[in-house]
Symmetry: D2
């Protein structure tokens, strides 16, 4: 992933240095397990650890690989250069994929752990803003059209809840990917026993693939990419919300404008929601990576290696991007400038039409058939919409309505507070039972 | 979905008749809940049920919709035609999406239940074949190249395990989609209380969306489509395996040939793996539907309806197709003609090269540095590969090898049984602890 | 494709009846070519034509297929039932795919022809609206933020131009798909000569695949689906434009509201851009189908049939949908209610800030360094944006600006007409040189 | 894109240094055009060129961008640092996207030019191998099953032809992307005239967008990514072909094995088609990028910038990858080790069944109804397939066949040469009329 969209922790996880270091940890865990089983001399792993851990030179490994065209052999050659004789006990009875897949599991799980922390941070920001705007009236819109009043806080609360579902999916994918194998060339434990695998994985914090081929099942990796794509949609939802709020005609919220930031090379007054637009695009990338992941699952016989080139690119790219997006989204949400006054103004834009359903229901409860009530309300609503009067007054002037509803009953239908009366109940089921508490 | 790839149960779930019937159940559950709350006269739901359930005419509803261009209004109009006065109490305070989304949840969950049953059936077939071929020797292949011996049963067992993971994802997606909302136009319960929603959903077996907008979160539907795409890859893996087994040069297994079936209009002898090829293509469709689902999640403000046209097509298409694929895959697996003799023959194709790693390891254990052992084994292996002798004999003729291994030790490296010694352990962790038992 | 999104012409093209009729035309064209070559008795094709064309019964063919599991054999069996002895000369030396692929080419090309006509219709509607609003001032927006004035007509003109590019791609894909093959089981013309193919295709209006396998190259079909996906984005662009125009706070245009149409079951006043939202979703489907098409291209050896199940679903679905979308988009554009007054009002929303760049440039031209000019303009702009005065007045009160620009020069920077002075030039290069003419 | 899959020329095109250099060329071309128009002092562009071209420091620009959060402003600031006073005339009346989009067009077109050269190289390799194996008999396979004999050269020739279609699409996309705009903030030429744009683009080799918004239409970029995805499928087809040829049981061709290359860390004899498997995966990446491109087309009003983050990643990644894939595929094809003897052996595997259609046709031509002939041939074919005799002998022993065909006529049906008699005609239409010539 390009530097612009990368952060250090994730870059480190996917660096050559960390990849080789993780390979070495897998080899050492396997070696230690074999020592316990008695197939390798006691002390081998410790001896290699002392001489090789922290001293691997990626450039040297790459140079060897250019000759052998085989990365694991190049790696082992280099370890032998560093650690000498004991190193020949490494990798005994193992196949390259035993190392590669087990290490990839560790790297991917580490990346997902960082992402889960990022989600938690973004959720915390959403919860704070949700509390802040628990009772901030805002017009609710469906189809881009004003519908009924709502609370601005509910939007933040919804993001919090959606991100919670996204986190569950990422956590499950992380559990699913934390699976390695030391089962040999075709998964039969031909030269390494299941017991060695079990011992080694206890050290590494991995589970063993239940039925491995040469590799671990690629549905696990596809699930990771799918979970990240869905996480991307949750962030995209936030970004889209901010972009709509910030558009000139709406103006209900806007991204904080950095000191020294310039909005446009030509139009100095412009404050554009560029962070949110940026995230909107990046969500598309996460979707596209998920598509590649789904093509990697079905492989030939006991494995073909077509998945590998995809994973070399897509697992780093998708996790690095997701991490970056979470950080950026957290900034956007935490610093978002909400304009409560503008929200109030916008509530008045349709001059009462927002309350049409309340009137409709009052008429039905007063005994009018629904279809007739609908027609009556629609008549006044369209007239008001076309500027032929205020909705409240047009309703009051309708004789058929006047038969059913008193002026006071009509007024009651126009109450704003009415719409926020269940907000606390919604908050309670998401954040916990006590108003104000966040979970 | 076209008739060729549809089965009756799923077609029924997505039929107009069932959709409208499900809408009516949602309306009646809401109505009954309102009766209990006292906002609707007692007996209303029962009265409407008596006159409308089982009598809905989809064609009539469609005719009304052509005028109103609104499906739920058309539906309610028709229900009022059938049930008269009491029907005007239906939908009171509700918005169309309260009905649509809650009903869609019920339909989708029903479709996923059928799919879960289909997975169970396919897994049972895989388990049976796995038991049957627990100890059938077969060459394991990586990169399409013979690698080491394995058991044919392990392939079936792997499919069983992969399908188990697919089933877990589908089951979670089903739990995630079994969520409705009766929260009104923008999710504030403006005209229907959370209590009514809770009562109604207790009847319907739905959970309530934690923070609804006008609709339920679309990440739930995207997760369904993603889980089906991943299920598709598990089926694709089976199909790809059969296609490879059946190719002329391999011939280790083939799809059962139906009575009267014709393989080719031009080549009467041909038996083509057309069912498996067909499934390979259909898995691509499931992938593509998942992509559309991911674009549906981020919507404008409290909802835009762009997701709806996608769902009208893709939720039926994806679930119908998955159901069809499972049935077809079950037939393929259950009836697959496995040629154990051909498997044995193929094991001999490389005249012993399969055992190269065993020799390599014996040399290392006998004290040779790994890289040197590798070179020695590679030398004889390439010679054998190029037809310059049998691998066993070339090894025996190598002076450097003879220094380390006796002829008896060399022979031990060529044992086939050696490779199957951990098969029972693998079966035990997948199917249960007793050999022969399936879970 | 579901009936809701299908129109009769395209449904007919993809009907069983038309498919079988097209197969018969391919068989008859090949037969007639063989007659001319002398390998089939003169008059055979005519005899079969007389007895079979117009009499094929799809249900009968399907019944035979259920036994043979082979559609072309079932079809030939049925033709023999209808036409008797002469029919045995049909298909002589041909393979099923000779018929299937050549017929599929004809069906797909017919579907694309209909789509090209649909594009032409939509472009005509765009051109009319472009002319109508050639000089209708509207605020131009980037990032959803008001930028500079533009003409509303330019939006329609842009749609016209984009659709022109989409049409070129569809036309090229149509030319690319109008390719069949009568080259036998592996493309070698083993039993039918290239000359017969050439004669037959001259009758059918097809080109011959340059190097066929058992089938025609599937890159052709993928290109079709890709061109349709790109057409979908052009329609999506229109739909997105309308949705933005129609949102309550913008209100510059809206979809025409049908007589009897109901906007919302709960909110009678609402006019929602549901047609455009619908098209937005359908564009996602076209994208997803293109993804499946790309997976169909690389096949095993001289063909595997995995592409077939995809094509059975996706070629009808994508073309039917594209045709439907074009018709719907044409209605939207043709009937769109444009509110010129509201466009004027919105131009005033930012109280002059739209003209910031003109002032910036005037300052630069008056000799101020660009960065300094930018800072000066930004200062007044942000002050105006925050409501601390009108932009024009704040600029006028700035001493440093006053040094460079006279009040008259400042006023000139606020001219609306200035922005439309090149509109005719843009129109001329798209629609032709004479203002008012459309191409 | 990671270094492993990148080559220097493409890396340079997308480097920061080249991007900024290209921006500067666009600014200078615009500046020179304004000089000619008289709005900028004569000699400005030359003065800036002398001081800034070749001296841009990307790190300095990036540092400024971290403050301004605006890349073009940072760039202009840096140019002014280098070139002083004349530089303030740059960018006059222009908007950032005038520079960005015009430069992106130049970079993308350069990348596509390199790719077109790569396709030409790969096609040349295919043509050479096609000539070499014009008459090398090989079994043709459909569904993975032996069908009829063909020539190995036809496979190379088909790749050549498919790549030709891919090249046409890339060339068209290159023409489509070679389009810039100097039309200002909303495409109205508010501050720069169409004439300046025309003069500047004549220098740069760009066409002007017909109806620009703030940017050039993104269908152009999506078409580029779509063309690359289709190019990817052509390469994938080659890779898949090699992988099938190389599998142990087929063995008809294999990737050349580099000196020092190691096939497997565990199995020294293995030669795996890893380059081809690698390309198979990379083709998936190209597909996935195309999906992201299609989501970038429909934007808000006169532009939103969501496409930008996608393009920053995907345009470099997709073009760099395509370039790499072409180079790798060229190596594979040029060096592929074809085993003609093994091809001959495999032709014999089905002991004559390949000729079943020839016999079927002979029987039909001898007057047997097709369905009856099919049944007779199928009977002997299945018997032979099941090892109950040789196909030729079983046919000879069939009384009903003996009534129609003499032994000599039966023998004629088993001729191998027969199948290659139209090969020259196919070559002629692809490579030119004279056998041996390549186009």
């Amino acid at each position: 992933m390009i530097a612009r969209f990368s952060r250090p922790e994730l870059e480190h996880i996917w660096s050559d240095a960390n990849r080789y270091a993780t390979w070495l940890e897998v080899e050492l865990a396997a070696c230690a397990a074999m020592e316990e089983e008695g197939t390798v001399p006691r002390g081998t792993a410790a001896a290699v650890r002392a001489l090789a851990v922290g001293r691997l030179e990626p450039a040297r490994i790459d140079a060897v690989e250019r000759v052998t065209r085989h990365d694991v052999i190049a790696f082992l050659t280099h370890v032998e250069e560093l650690a000498g004789e004991p190193a020949r006990w490494l990798h005994l009875g193992m196949t390259s994929s035993d190392v590669l897949d087990s290490a990839l599991a560790l790297q991917t799980a580490a990346a997902l752990d960082a992402i889960l922390a990022g989600i938690a941070g973004l959720r915390a920001a959403c919860a704070r803003r949700a509390e802040e705007h628990r009772r901030t009236p805002m017009v609710g819109r469906s189809h881009g059209i004003h519908a009924e009043p709502t609370s601005a806080g509910l939007t933040f609360l919804r993001w919090y809840a959606e991100l919670g579902r996204a986190a569950e999916r990422v956590a499950r994918a992380r559990d699913g990917i934390r699976v390695g194998k030391l089962a040999g060339a075709v998964g039969t434990y031909a030269h390494v026993s299941p017991a060695v695998e079990a011992r080694a994985f206890a050290r590494l914090g991995l589970a063993a693939e239940s039925v491995a081929t040469q590799i671990v099942g690629r549905d696990r990796h596809a699930e990771v990419l799918g979970a990240l794509a869905l996480l991307g949609t949750a962030i995209e939802q936030i970004a889209l919300g901010v972009r709509h709020w910030q558009r000139t005609e709406v103006g209900e919220a806007q991204e904080a404008f950095g000191k020294g930031q310039k909005g446009s090379s030509a139009m100095p007054h412009k404050k554009n929601p560029i962070l949110s637009e940026n995230l909107t695009g990046l969500a598309r990338l996460l979707r596209s990576y998920a598509g590649a992941g789904l093509e990697d699952v079905a492989l030939w016989h006991e494995r073909d290696i077509s998945h590998s080139s995809v994973e070399r690119v897509v697992l780093p790219d998708a996790t690095i991007l997701a991490d970056f997006m979470l950080a950026r989204a957290t900034t956007i949400v935490a610093d978002l400038v909400v304009d409560k006054a503008r929200m109030r103004e916008n509530l008045e834009l349709t001059r009462g039409l927002l309350h049409s359903e309340a009137i409709l229901l009052a008429l039905v409860r007063a005994g009018l058939p629904r279809q007739r009530a609908y027609e009556l309300v629609q008549k006044s609503a369209l007239a008001a919409h076309e500027g032929r009067g205020l909705f409240r007054e047009l309703l009051g002037a309708d004789a058929e309505i006047a038969e059913r509803l008193t002026p006071a009953e009509l007024d009651a239908g126009f109450s704003l507070e009415h719409h926020l009366r269940h907000v606390d109940a919604i908050y309670a089921r998401v954040l916990g039972t006590t108003p104000g508490a966040t979970a």
